[in-house]
Symmetry: C2
Subunit: 258 residues, 2 copies
């Protein structure tokens, strides 16, 4: 096969914006993966050579990551990492405080907590009879004071009411459910979307209007299959990543070992 004849598709013929994006994607992963231990990126000329791009394309790549709030230029120092991203595993069903305990203290501002009549589609997902109420809990969740996520939670009444007397400010709802019910949670169905922050959500989460958020819907079940906890979660895209391992073969996804 003559690769040289594929002039049109040759990766070195693309426009600067394409080359900048290609470099930015790799550097983003390095930043998130803490590949620069002192938080300072190599010199632009070194990076440009590393990625085989012009200095202008490399600067465009760094501009993209600066717009994302990951890096910044500091005169006399160079390009430094300014935004940390925290990993939220998609491998197991875990609460935020469980996941992030090594990164600091998770606290929750309780914006609402009490019984409501749920909309019918929420009632259906929780397999409730017509007219049954749920406990609604709305929390702004912080890591070391920094707002990370806004969680809207609908709980089956028997599961949710005991939680209202517990320490919702410092505890994950998952662990409180298991403690107060004496039962284990089993599986959760999770759906992820990327959505731009509206004005009010951006104010609450302290991000610019329109900032990219991960929106997660998560329906958690007791081990016996009964759905008890339906959550709508807005996660700051500039501060959280989600990871998992997928299997090519079979219907069972892989664990976190690969």
């Amino acid at each position: 096969m003559d690769v040289g004849s594929r002039e049109q598709g040759a990766p070195d013929r693309r426009c600067r914006a394409d080359r900048a994006r290609q470099a930015a994607d790799v550097i983003r992963r390095q930043v998130v993966g803490r590949a620069f231990p002192d938080g300072v990126l190599p010199d632009e000329l070194v990076l440009a050579a590393e990625f085989g791009v012009s200095r202008n394309a490399l600067r465009e790549a760094l501009d993209l990551l600066r717009e994302e709030g990951l890096i910044d230029r500091v005169p006399g120092v160079g390009t430094v990492v300014v935004g940390e991203k925290y990993p939220h595993g998609l491998d197991r069903l875990m609460g935020l405080a469980e996941v992030l305990h090594e990164h600091g203290e998770v606290t929750n501002d309780i914006r609402a907590a009490g019984p409501i009549r749920p909309p019918s589609s929420v009632a259906r997902r929780l397999r409730l009879a017509d007219g049954e109420h749920v406990v609604y809990v709305e929390r702004l969740r912080r890591l070391n004071g920094l707002p990370l996520s806004l969680d809207l939670t609908y709980l089956a009444m028997d599961v949710g009411l005991p939680l209202l007397d517990e320490d919702l400010r410092h505890r994950d709802i998952f662990s409180l459910i298991e403690q107060t019910s004496g039962r284990r949670l089993g599986t959760a169905a999770v759906t992820l979307e990327a959505v731009n922050a509206d004005l009010h959500a951006s104010t609450v989460l302290e991000v610019p209007r329109g900032a990219a958020l991960l929106v997660v819907e998560r329906l958690s079940h007791f081990a016996d299959g009964r759905p008890v906890d339906l959550e709508f979660i807005r996660l700051r895209g500039d501060r959280l990543t989600m990871s998992t391992v997928l299997n090519r073969v079979g219907s069972v996804a892989a664990g976190s070992g690969a």
Copy 2:
């Protein structure tokens, strides 16, 4: 426990924006889940009663979903669904055409395809020796002509070179790898982020500048554990969702059956 005394946390005391968001989250899932078979939402008064909010709060909720490009108002008809979201399973390692075959035809604009010298962090992830080249493939992927994702792919040389003679325009890279190598893919490590589209990416993907994108990094391995395919994927947040099932207990995630 006296729920009535929790005035501050009472869900019915919150501001309109909070109530609007709460309603919007539930309606968004109904739209994505095709809960409105004729594509027309119920009357505003019906929805307001359903969600226990004022008509103004309900309108604010619909405004949020209109900004996301999911619904629109049509005079004389009402509020209609205008944006379809396609489900991309996170349960199994599958190519886009495999995942979306029931929704239509996936075609790929090949923006680049050929050997390059990879940046060192890419070489390390593919476990390549210093100086080894990779095959780089850049594709704009469309479903029925609509741009859905921009994929930047680095392939080990022995795996990637044979693909350059294949039908990259109509086939998933996963299935081409398995066909040309005669080997099966095993697991993939996946990381998801939400990122705002830069000017150039927004032009390519035909979304507004700043639109929320899902950015996926995926490192796929042969069944023997050798990493062969590293991809950086930008997915349109307004057109794709990703779903999976998580397990509370143990290190092995659940399948898609729950």
